[in-house]
Symmetry: C2
């Protein structure tokens, strides 16, 4: 079976999706990624989709699931390299990839993850809401 | 046509080969990589082959050509992620990937490139021989 490799680069995991996201491939990727996050303790995952001509609702859902699973394991996911045509098609299809953060390329994705990691270190808690809950002493 | 994406990560270019290396794909990759090396001015290229079940003589030749072209453009190539079974088959086939440097994974490949870049900076020349020239104080 085809399998998407998960590469560890410094403090992030990188996945470059180049093959068709069939059910089994997507499930295997989710599993591999979750296992690698736990094994390596990284805080960031970057998924490159620059090789994809089309992102349909299944791929969108797969990306969202990966992001959710990673978040539960304390790692943030950034999707990078989306082609302009893919973005246009996504919006035309009514898909807006909720819960998924995007960056133009891998370097910008790494910068985004580094910034956020800094924020977490500074605040001792992730700031996703407008109201910041102060940890009780 | 399928195309292998070339990702820029900091000071290196990363290529993760996941699809079959047919003639056109290999040629396109060589072209894309050479263009990106010139456009970005990077000194290192990492090619991940952890997704490949088999490396035949054509893939071996493609990797060697990529390494040679990169070298002419002043960038070193490291092939990473080779599976144990692939290494065994390579040797059984009498292929030893001459002119290609390898590392176990991406992190080690980056470290290899960084060391060599340091050597170049320190000595003003690449040191590939057994005799280590001590920098004069």
């Amino acid at each position: 079976m085809e399998r998407v490799p998960v590469l560890k680069i410094g403090e992030i995991l990188l996945v470059s999706i180049q093959i068709d996201m069939e059910d089994q491939v997507a499930l295997q990727l989710q599993e591999d990624l979750a296992e690698r996050i736990v094994a390596t303790g990284v805080r960031g995952v970057i998924i490159d989709i620059s090789a994809l001509d089309i992102v349909d609702s299944f791929v969108g859902r797969t990306l969202a699931t990966i992001a959710s699973v990673s978040r539960v394991l304390d790692a943030e996911t950034v999707v990078v390299g989306m082609r302009p045509a893919v973005a246009i098609t996504l919006v035309e299809l009514g898909l807006s990839l909720p819960g998924i953060r995007t960056a133009l390329n891998v370097d910008l994705g790494i910068a985004m993850l580094a910034r956020q990691d800094e924020d977490i270190d500074l605040l001792g808690d992730e700031d996703d809401t407008d109201q910041v809950a102060e940890p009780t002493p």
